[in-house]
Symmetry: C2
Subunit: 231 residues, 2 copies
């Protein structure tokens, strides 16, 4: 028969598996939200944009559930060292993924303004590629969390500067476009915020990478400034 201690360990493992599953689920919804928001933007699809905004509530609900579970685990199981680091990481990662969902929702919200007055602003061709990089970073860092893979987390971290360079280049492109097409300034300003939201999604994936690395190793990935872009 299992001892009391083994019983507790097993209960903890079940709780942490449940926590991981909730975070994977949130991550999947967030990735879908990014993809749908970009599709809505490219196709000027207001209905799809509305769906993205609606579905964000599901992410918020799962986050609240993950938070309750993490707090209950800390209070009831009093995990130590590695285990405690992992639960705290899960608590924080859930909050970050919820914010990633908010950025996708914010992109979706801008769709009508970007296509205002029936005007067809050609979305800079690099914006969907930027969204793909940001979304892949979210995907890979949550995989790294599931697998407790510190090296994979570090690799996501290293991709952030490429995304930042991408953003800087888009920023310059959009500003040049505004100068040359002053009539479109208002719409292009919204595109600027879309690019900024994608860059922030990458920053958040990078922050998660730091949390995963710390949870898995007890060491800080780096002492570099927390990324929040220069533009």
């Amino acid at each position: 028969m299992a001892t009391g201690h083994e019983h507790t360990v097993k209960a903890f493992d079940q709780d942490i598996s449940h926590l991981r599953a909730l975070i994977s689920q949130m991550g999947g919804l967030a990735e879908q939200a990014i993809a749908d928001a970009m599709t809505a933007l490219q196709r000027n699809d207001h209905e799809l944009a509305k769906q993205v905004r609606k579905k964000d509530k599901a992410i918020d609900t799962i986050e609240a559930e993950a938070e309750r579970l993490a707090v209950r685990v800390i209070a009831l199981r009093a995990p130590m060292a590695d285990d405690l680091r992992e639960v705290v990481a899960a608590l924080k990662i859930a909050a970050v993924v919820e914010r990633i969902g908010d950025y996708a929702k914010n992109i979706a919200k801008r769709v009508p303004a970007i296509h205002a007055d029936g005007d067809r602003i050609e979305v800079v061709s690099v914006l969907p590629s930027m969204a793909q990089i940001a979304s892949d970073m979210v995907h890979d860092v949550l995989d790294a969390f599931s697998a407790r893979d510190a090296e994979k987390a570090a690799a996501v971290h290293d991709r952030d500067s490429a995304l930042d360079d991408f953003y800087d280049s888009i920023f310059r492109t959009l500003v040049t476009f505004m100068v040359e097409n002053p009539r479109t300034v208002s719409q292009v300003a919204h595109l600027l915020f879309v690019a900024k939201n994608l860059e922030r999604i990458g920053d958040h994936a990078t922050n998660v990478a730091e949390m995963v690395y710390f949870a898995a190793t007890g060491k800080h990935l780096s002492d570099r400034e927390s990324g929040e872009g220069s533009n």
Copy 2:
């Protein structure tokens, strides 16, 4: 003599007081960061802007301390109901104040770009007023947290829509300015992000208001969508 239970209660009260003190300290630093960043922006003071970026590390350090303390309290004291809600709120509020500090740092980072080429962009006269409203919201909501004052938190919550209107008006002003002065588009785009950062600070203060209200009453302030602006 105190019973074991009383002893635990007293230790909990000391811990929660310490947590409140840490959050007040972070809040004070965040308010100062907003004020200094705006002064640096108005005076084109690169040295002050650099100071804001440097001092942000102090906020990050206190946040890490608050997080460790909150987790320890949950694990060791296993608080129930109201007390647990308050510790979880403290944990989350610390993370939000840290992000408010990041927004101030981001404003400071933009100072050189806004005043690039020795060009003197006249900062829209309303930007410092907007910063003041955002900063007051941060101040008041942290006061509400210290005092467990749900009504005061609700009042901060209600001020957010005024700040959003302010932002919308500045957005339109800046876009008009860009159209009329295409040469300044790059610099004014950075001002647009400054305004957006201030609006986000207000959103975060509003989120804190919701947390304070929930911690104090166990009820949700409203079911309204988490604010993240429409522009």
